[in-house]
Every structure is written in structure tokens, then in C-alpha cells.
Symmetry: none
Subunit: 416 residues, 2 copies
């Protein structure tokens, strides 16, 4: 089966100036991957006639499918449509269905319909029209020398609508496509290179159509197995067995055999067991509470948090003893332990996370090193503490500490 290659071309000066982050390319690539179409190039260029013309020529020579987004708006700097009309020949003609769609939209918004908007319903007679139910600019599909060229509006919401309703179904039916299966697991505690070292033989043992990818993100490293072939059942079966082998190989650092965030997994387990959680935070300033409560439905198991940023609050609100603070300093195993038991009691929860540390850039009066963090997690019956010394900047130190604290708790909560 021939590999179907795609180039995605995003058009817009706002992308080249970095004012807009290009999310369209990632989203389209994911959708195309899912049906077995490989995106091998993503190109971004400006609203410039020659640049667009040249890129069209280059990419049609390299790919089977070329998808363009952007440059279809009603304003003068939107030149994609006239360019495509020139490139593929023919002339602009009014498309009645597109015009009716525009009229409907303006009636709904009850806005006056002006010439400029109606012109959006004009399309080159050399294309098949992809009707855009979410906006005024229709999509266009051209075919030449066995290559497919598709032009979509740049507004993500409209582009997605056209991809789902028209482009994906068309491509599935137009090309003979392979089956692609993924399985992803989450690990924590070891670096990418260290894991790779452990998995050298495993990688060698994989058939050529199954590949392992490392997706690192500070505290965690995701391991993703990908299989490409034709027989879905057979692929999934094989992928599953290699996935199980991989799980055993990384057992000690395995966080989850699903591609989910640790805070989601904690939520699922707490809902199952009907237990609750709270946090007592110093240096993370509420970020752990934010992560836990960012999960929809968190109100079912997350009771709250005490952010005691100053020692005064640690004493008066969290009842950490002044002697402990005096003797060991705020960033100490003794203090996080007291914070831990205090929050468990005050919020009447089964599980808790307590954190105290120095995130930098500046240290505090006592001589502890910037990046030093003490974490306490667990239940009243079983609390564990851990010391970190983080090398990042303030933001990354906060994020890493929070993520790690949640992962530590996840490992303590019984699976069911």
C-alpha cells in the first residue's frame, strides 16, 4: 500500500509575526493521522502572492494531498481565492448554495449584507465547493495530475467543521489507507535517556511496523507505541502484547497505562472509592489545587486548599508550631509533615498533599538552596515525604513540584 503524504500550508502574517499560535496544523495533522494519512510537511507563509504560488508548486511536487488554510476572508489582504483561480485556471462564478448560506448567517445575526460579503460566495469554476456551515467562506477542492488540493478558511472553528463534514470523508473514500493504532503510557521518575537505555533491546525486538516514541515533559515521560498496517484486529492484538511487555519493563516508573493527566487519574480513583482530597501549599501558591480542580467534576472529591505563603499563616491558620518553624525552618520535612496532618484534620479529608519550598529566583534568609522543596503526600495512616532540589526557573519549579506531588499521591491511592 502506497503511503499517502500530505503538506499542510497555513497562510497568514499574524502567524509569521508570532501573534497567533498555529493550532490548525496540529489539529489537522491529528485528524489525518487518525485515518492513516501522514503529514510530512507543515509550512507557514504570509499573505503574499508569490510565496503562496511558489509553495503550491513546491508542495504539489512533494505530496499527494495539499491542504491550505487561511486567506479566504472578505478583506483586501485575503488573496488565496483569486490566486487559486489563476493557478488552476477558469473564472470566479457565484455559487448559489454558498450565497444562500451567507444570507442565512446574516439574517441570523440580523446584520446588513454588503457586496463584500456576497462576493465570498464566488468560487473558481475549476473547483468542487465544500459548503461551510459555520461561516461565510466556502472551502474549495481542486484535483490535478492525481494530486488533491484543498483550501479551507483559517478560523479554527470553521476549518474543523469543514474537515469533519467534508474533507475527512472525501479522503477516506478517495485513497486506500492503512490502519494506524496507538497505545500510550505515562512514566515518572526517570529521564528520557535513562529509559531509552533500559529499552534498547525492546526497541530492537519491535517489528518494522511498530515503533516506540518518547514524549518527555519535565517530570513525566510518555511512551507511545504506534503500529501501522492493514489488518486492524491483528495490529491491535500485536500492539497490545508489546504494550504489556513494555509495561513490565518500566513497571517501577509506570504512572498509568492510559494517556491521561495524573490529576484526572486521581479524580477517577477518588470517585470510585468515595474518598476526598485537600492540599496545604506554600511555595506552589495554589497551583496544585488548581491542577486538581481543573478536572471537570472535581467538586466530587476536592474539598479545598490552604495556601500558607507566609510563616505567620502557617502558624495561625495551619497551626504549624512556632518551635518547629524556628528549629527546622519553613522548608523542612518537619514543617510539611505538620502542614499535612493539619490539612487532613481541618478539611476532614482522607488524602492530602503538603508542600513547602524555595522557588527562586531569590533564596530566603535561611541558607537553604533555591529549588529546595519538601513534599508530604498520602493519608493519615500512610504519609510519605520527599525532598527535591529543582534546577529550573520559578515557573518551571512550581509546575514540576505540583505535577510530581500529584503523581506521588496517585501512587499511594489504591487502584480500586
Amino acid at each position: 500500500m502506497k503511503k499517502v503524504n500530505t503538506s499542510i500550508i497555513t497562510i497568514g502574517d499574524e502567524l509569521l509575526m508570532g501573534q497567533t499560535i498555529n493550532t490548525n496544523s496540529a489539529w489537522m495533522s491529528q485528524e489525518l493521522n487518525r485515518i492513516g494519512i501522514w503529514v510530512h510537511r507543515q509550512i507557514t507563509i504570509g499573505d503574499n502572492w508569490n510565496d503562496i504560488w511558489n509553495v503550491l508548486q513546491d508542495e504539489t511536487s512533494l505530496s499527494d494531498i495539499i491542504i491550505l488554510t487561511g486567506g479566504l476572508g472578505p478583506t483586501a489582504d485575503d488573496i488565496t481565492k483569486p490566486l487559486l483561480c489563476k493557478y488552476f485556471g477558469g473564472q470566479l462564478i457565484m455559487n448559489e448554495e454558498a450565497l444562500q448560506n451567507i444570507k442565512n448567517i446574516f439574517t441570523r445575526l440580523n446584520r446588513p449584507l454588503i457586496e463584500r460579503n456576497m462576493k465570498q460566495a464566488e468560487v473558481p469554476d475549476s473547483c468542487s465547493v465544500l459548503q461551510n456551515r459555520r461561516g461565510t467562506a466556502p472551502g474549495m477542492l481542486f484535483s490535478r495530475d492525481g494530486k488533491i488540493i484543498i483550501s479551507l478558511p483559517g478560523v479554527p472553528y470553521e476549518m474543523k467543521g469543514l474537515m469533519e463534514a467534508s474533507v475527512i470523508p472525501y479522503l477516506k473514500n478517495e485513497f486506500v489507507l492503512p490502519t494506524i493504532c496507538y497505545k500510550t503510557m505515562v512514566t515518572a521518575g526517570k529521564g528520557e535517556s535513562f529509559i531509552a537505555e533500559q529499552l534498547v533491546d525492546f526497541e530492537k525486538s519491535l517489528p518494522h511496523y511498530i515503533s516506540l516514541a518518547y514524549l518527555p515533559a519535565y517530570v513525566i515521560v510518555k511512551l507511545r507505541l504506534k503500529a501501522i498496517g492493514e489488518n486492524k484486529k491483528k495490529l491491535e492484538k500485536e500492539l497490545h502484547s508489546y504494550f504489556e511487555i513494555l509495561k513490565k519493563l518500566v513497571a517501577e516508573i509506570l504512572v498509568s497505562d492510559e494517556d491521561k493527566r495524573a490529576e484526572e487519574l486521581i479524580g477517577e480513583q477518588l470517585i470510585k472509592s468515595g474518598k476526598t482530597v485537600a492540599t496545604a501549599e506554600s511555595c506552589t501558591g495554589g497551583y496544585i489545587a488548581h491542577l486538581i480542580s481543573s478536572v471537570p467534576g472535581a467538586s466530587n472529591y476536592f474539598k479545598g486548599s490552604m495556601v500558607s505563603y507566609s510563616n505567620e499563616i502557617k502558624e495561625n491558620v495551619l497551626n504549624v508550631s512556632p518551635q518547629t518553624l524556628e528549629k527546622f525552618g519553613a522548608v523542612s520535612e518537619e514543617v510539611v509533615s505538620e502542614m499535612f496532618y493539619s490539612i487532613i484534620e481541618k478539611m476532614k479529608v482522607e488524602y492530602a498533599i503538603a508542600v513547602s519550598g524555595i522557588m527562586g529566583p531569590l533564596g530566603d534568609s535561611n541558607e537553604k538552596q533555591v529549588g529546595t522543596v519538601w513534599i508530604a503526600v498520602g493519608s493519615k495512616e500512610r504519609m510519605i515525604t520527599k525532598k527535591l532540589v529543582l534546577p529550573f526557573d520559578r515557573t518551571k519549579n512550581i509546575e514540576s513540584t505540583s505535577q510530581l506531588a500529584i503523581i506521588l499521591l496517585l501512587k499511594i491511592i489504591p487502584k480500586n
Copy 2:
């Protein structure tokens, strides 16, 4: 003055599969724009020898500067370095400074240092090394036929460090660049198109070398004036006077005439006045506390936060009266007011923020609409409340509420 053109090449299968959104290209483009270098092409390709080789050839023929990110990791799929070595000739040699840097990082993380990691300190002898203080993969700079080719790691945090410390200073000094001046102000309370409507005449009055950009971000809209020319003094003087006119035109929605985050500005004002702040949060789950404490030095004025996610905690920890909760519901002006005065007293602060709302996707038992939020901000002497009904998803609702609450407080704290 010749326009300096740049191509940004981001390398990585995870980008082509859409698993990672390409934020590097946007960030780098912004930084390069700021010093007068125009990015005219952004290309993303996979970890594939031929693709990288060909793209290098293509882009060097089109651009003065080529910056690559990604593919410098320690694993087998990272092939950028050997490829560059082959492309520019020469051989890989150990760079002692880079090696020392790697050793330091592993010592700090106290992780075992293996062969694979040390190999990251090897660089082609045909390049100048850009030392990476934030990670193990050094940057590399090549020069050929007057073209500059720079290779950076793909981890955003490391890439940014190298751009700021090495790449930007190098390029500023290597090329004759136009003078570009920016002045940015922050507004809140009106939408982009509404502001644009107000500023039609102002925009018309601008000379061709001064432009106005709208940078919207949910709650706030930044207005940025940009001037391009050669005489720095003259440009700055002109820019200043237009900036002052603009400030008057948007006076009622102006948050700050500096390009700073509201939480930074709050910090500056509180430090000046020696006052302190705390938060009582329900639906924002600690995100406001996180924003305030994300500012270096926040411990000088931020005492802490109570995240009362459940009504039980609102009653027992924040002493909100059960009657008020019963009568008006958790999402009410009455409840946030009680939360506000309670946190002021408990944490002995001059200023506070209290928030209660429903972020979705699901509503709660009482019939209040998803997206409904009550905010209380100010001091014991002067508290103001505000009701919002937000249209976004859970994440955006949390972020917008938090940002808006901080902006509301900023407006109340006396400027000095």
C-alpha cells in the same frame, strides 16, 4: 537597508502527528520581529534524514538566517546533530564546557550520568557552540556563504534561554537592522472590534512607519504601537506622543501603560505601600493565588489563600454562615462578601479577592447558569462586587475570572 529574511525549521514527528502544538515558531518569530528580522517561512518536518537535508538546502537558498529547533535529544530518533556535521563537514568533537554543564545538571538532579548523556556534549568542529544553561543539548551556529544556520534544542524552556542569551545578541551584532520601537498598553472591559471602531480616525492619523496592533486575550486587549525606521531618538519621540494620544482615547478601559501582567503591577504597588493581600477562592480553585504568587518576590505582600471548594469548607474554615449559603446559594453576592471579609480578618491583610462561581461543563444542583461568577475585591473599607456570566469552557472560565478579579483589585489599590 536590506530586509533580513529568516526561515524557522521545527523538527519532530510529535509536531507532524499533532501531539505537540508548535509554540516555538510563534515565540521565536516574535523575538526576531522585535529586533527587525522578518520571518517569512516556518517549516515543520519530521526526524527524517532526507527531509532535514533537503529543507536545509531549500531554506538556505531562500533566507539569510535559518534557525532549526528540535532533534538534539539523547535518543536514537534525534538525528539533527550528526546530520549537521555531515552537511557542514568536519567531525564531532567533545566540547569541555558543554560536558561540564551536563555534569553539573546531573549532579543537581542527582541522576546517574551515562554515556548517552555525555555524548550530548559532542559538537561538529565546524560550528561555534552556544552553551545551553538550561539543559544538556548545546546550541550550534554555522556560517556558510554569508548565510547563518543555527540549531537549538526543541524544549521551549531551553530554546528560549539560548535565544535570549546567545542568538538575539549575536544577530543584532551580525546584521544591520532597522530600529524598531514598541510601546504597549493594557486595556480591559471592551472587545477588540469595539475598540478598533473607536480608533478608526487615530489609525488613519498614523504615519506609514507607525502601526497599531490589537493583541486580544479573553479579558484584556493589549494595544501595541510599533515604529520602524533608522533614527532611534526621533522614532521614540514620535511614538511617545502618539502613545499619549492613544492613552487618552482609551482612558476609561486603560489598565496599564506598561506591558506588564496585572499581578506584577499589583505586586509593585503593594511593595510601595507596604500592604498585603490574600484570596478566598471557590470555583477558581487556587488559580488566583497561583497568578499572584507566580511573581518573584510575592512573599513580600502575598500572605496566602483559602480555597474552599466545598460548601462544608466555606462554613467550617471560612465561617460563611449556613443561613446565607442556604438562602442565596454558594454563587451569590452575599456569600462572596462573607468570604471576602472572612479572609481579610483571618489572614490579617489590607486587600483581598473572593470568588465563587460555576465553571462548567456541568452546572450544580441549584439552577444557576454555568459560567455565572461572583467576585468581591478591595479592602475592609472599600469592597466592590461584580457578577460575570462567562461563555467559555471550564479552563478559559477559570483563567478569565482570575485575570479579571486581579484587574479589578489593581484598579482599587491606590497608585502610590
